[in-house]
Amino acid sequence: MNHPVAAVDLRKSYNGRLVLAADEFRLAAGQVTALVGPSGAGKTTLLRLAAGLETPDSGELYWFGRPSNAADLAARRRLGFVFQMPRLFSGTVYENLAYGLRLRGLGEGEIRERVERLLQQVGLSEFSAQVARSLSGGEQQRVALARTLITGPEVIFLDEPTANLDPPNVKAIEELVTGYCREQGAAVAWVTHNIFQARRCSQQLVFLAEGRVVEAGPTHRLVQEAAEARTRAFLSGEMIY
Amino acid sequence: GGRPGRELVLATTTSTEDSGLLDYLLPYFTERTGIQVKVVAVGTGQALEMGRKGDADVLLVHAKPDELKFVADGYGTERHDVMYNDFIIIGPAADPAGIKGLADVKEAFRLIAAAQATFVSRGDNSGTHKKEKAIWAAMETVLAGDWYVEVGQGMGATLGIADEKQGYLLIDRATYLAQKASISLEIMVEGDELLLNQYGVIPVNPARHDGINERGARMFVEWLISDEAQELIGKFGVEEFGQPLFFPNAGR
C-alpha cells in the first residue's frame, strides 16, 4: 500500500520528559487514520512531528517515500494541517481561504470560485466578508478546515477538527473530509475523542497513551478484538462521554 | 530665591570656553574669593538674552555695539573692556582670489567676491558675523550664489566646514591657533585695524530680577580687570602657541 507519510522510532522530550516514543507510524493514501487516546497522550505531538512542525529528538520521517525535509517546499505543499485551536489570520474569512491559493500563484478569478465552493461546503457562505477572528468557535473551526482543504493537500493532519461543532455540522464536516479522502486518494490523520466518529470515518486506528502507541491497526478489527484492555474500553463505547 | 552667594553664573561665548581660557583663569578667581563660577557657553545673542532674562549674573562677550545697547537698555549696570584679540582672514594655500599678504581687509573681500571664490560665513549674527557683515556693507556686493556659504554655526564648526570646502573665512585668532594643527587653511590677511575683536564684561542689573548674585558679579568684574587677571590673560597660550591668544586691555 502507498504510504505518503511514514515514520520510524520518533521520539520527543520536553524539558527532559519523554512525551512521545512512536516505534512506527504510517498514513495510507485514500484512508483516514484515527488517532485516539487520553488528554496529554501525545496525539498533537505526533501530528506535529509527522508534519515537520517539530523536530524529533531522534527517529526517521519519510514524506512520499523520501526523507522529510522542511526546506522541500514542493513536498510541504502536499501536506495540510488543521490545528487544535484555529489560528486564523487577521482579515476576513475570504482572505484566510485565499492565502494558500495566493501562495500558489492562482489568479483572482480562480481563487474566488474555489473560496465560494469551499465556504458553501462548510456552511459559511454568508460569512465570506466577516472578520475571521470575530466568528464563533465552531465557525472558526470550519474556516480553519476550509483554509487547508482549499489547497488540495494529499496528506491532511486534523487535530480534533469537530470538537466545537454541533451534530449536524459534525455530520457535514465528516462527509466533506471522508469524501475528499476517497475522491482525492488523500491520506488523513484525524485526532478525535469521539469514538463514534472514529468508527464512522476511519479505516485505520492508532491508540496512544502516555506517549506510546498502545495499539494500531484497521479500525474494524480493533473495534472487535483489541488486544489491550484500555483500547477495548475506549473502543467499545463503554465510555461514551 | 537666589543661589548661595558662593556661586556665580557666567554667560559667555563659546570662544572663551573652547579656547581653554576660562578653565585656565577661573581657578585663580575661585582661590581668591571662594566663589565657584558656573560657565554657560552659548552663542553671543543667546548670552545677551540670558542676561536680559536674569539667568546669568555676569556676561563676557564680544559684540561691542550690542553690549553698549544692553547696558543702555538697563539690563546691565556697566561695561568694561577686558581684552581683545584679532580677526584674520584665512584661506586655501592655492589662494584663488589672490589676497595673500594684503593689508586691507576690504580689498581682500572685494577680490574674493570678484573671483567668486568660496567664502564661508558664520551666518549666525555672532560678533564675528557682525564684523564680517560690517565689512561687506562697505561695498556693494550681492551676497548670493554658490560661492557665499552661510553655515549658521559656531566658530569651530565653521572652520571645519571652510577647511573641507577649501574656502576663505573670517576667524578669530584664538580659535584659529587652537585648531591650526588639524586644518590646512593658512593666514591670508591680518593686522588691519578693522579686525580688532574686543571682549567686554558686564554685570547683570540686579534691580531687574530677584536672585542675581550682585556681589559675586562685582567681584568677578573687579578681578577680571585687575592687574593679576590681566597678567594671567596675557600669558595664556604663550607656552603652547608661542604667542598669546588674547591681549589684555582693561582700563586702557
Partner: protein, 226 residues
Amino acid sequence: MLQGLREALGMLWGGDAELWGIIARSLLVSLTAVALAAAVGVPLGAAVGLRRFRGRTLLRRVLRTFMGLPPVVVGLIVYLTLSRSGPLGPLDLLFTPTAMIIAQFLLALPIVAALAAGTVEGIDEQVREAALTLGATARQAEYKVLAEARRGLVTAVAAAYGRVAAEVGAVMLVGGNIRGYTRVMTTAIALETRQGQYGLAIGLGLVLIVISFLVNMIVEAGGEAR
C-alpha cells in the same frame, strides 16, 4: 513666545520661500532616511525576532543599545568617513543632503529594527506555523507575521521618524547647516536659539511638530489600509 509663533506662522502664510524650502528639505531628508531604515530594519528586526541563530541575543541587545546612539557621535563618524581626508572623501558628499540622509539612516536603523523585533516576537509563533502549513516558504511565513504585526511596525517607523526628524546633532555636523542647501528645521531652530531668538525657535519647533503630526497621520493611514 506667542510672538515667535505668530512670526513663524506669518512666514508660513506669507509663503516665505526660505522657510518652505527648509520644510521641504527636512521632509526629504528624514523621510528618505526613515524609508531606507524601514527597508533594511524591518527585515533585520524580523530576522532577530523570528529566527534562531547564534549571536541572536547579542544582536538584539546591540540593536537595543544602538537605539541610543548619540547623534553627535554618529555625525562625527559619518563626518570623518566622508571628510576629504576620510576613506570616502573622493565622493565629495560631506555637507550635502545625502550625508544627512546617511547619518539619519544610521540613527533610525536600530530603532526600526529593535522595535520591529519586539513586535514580531509578540505575534505568536502560531501565525508563522499556520502560514508554513498553508504552503508558505520560510520567507513568506515571516512576511505573514510582519503583515499581522503591521500596527506595531507602523509604531516602530513612527518612533524612528520622530527621532530623526527631531535630531539636530548629526545633521548639523554632516550637513553644516548651510543656508539654502543643508539647513533643515532642527538646525534652523538651533541657529535661532544661539541667537537668542527663542520665540522664533519655538515657533519653528511648533511648525515641525505639526508636520510630524501630519506625517504620522499619513503613515498610520497607510498601516491601516493594507
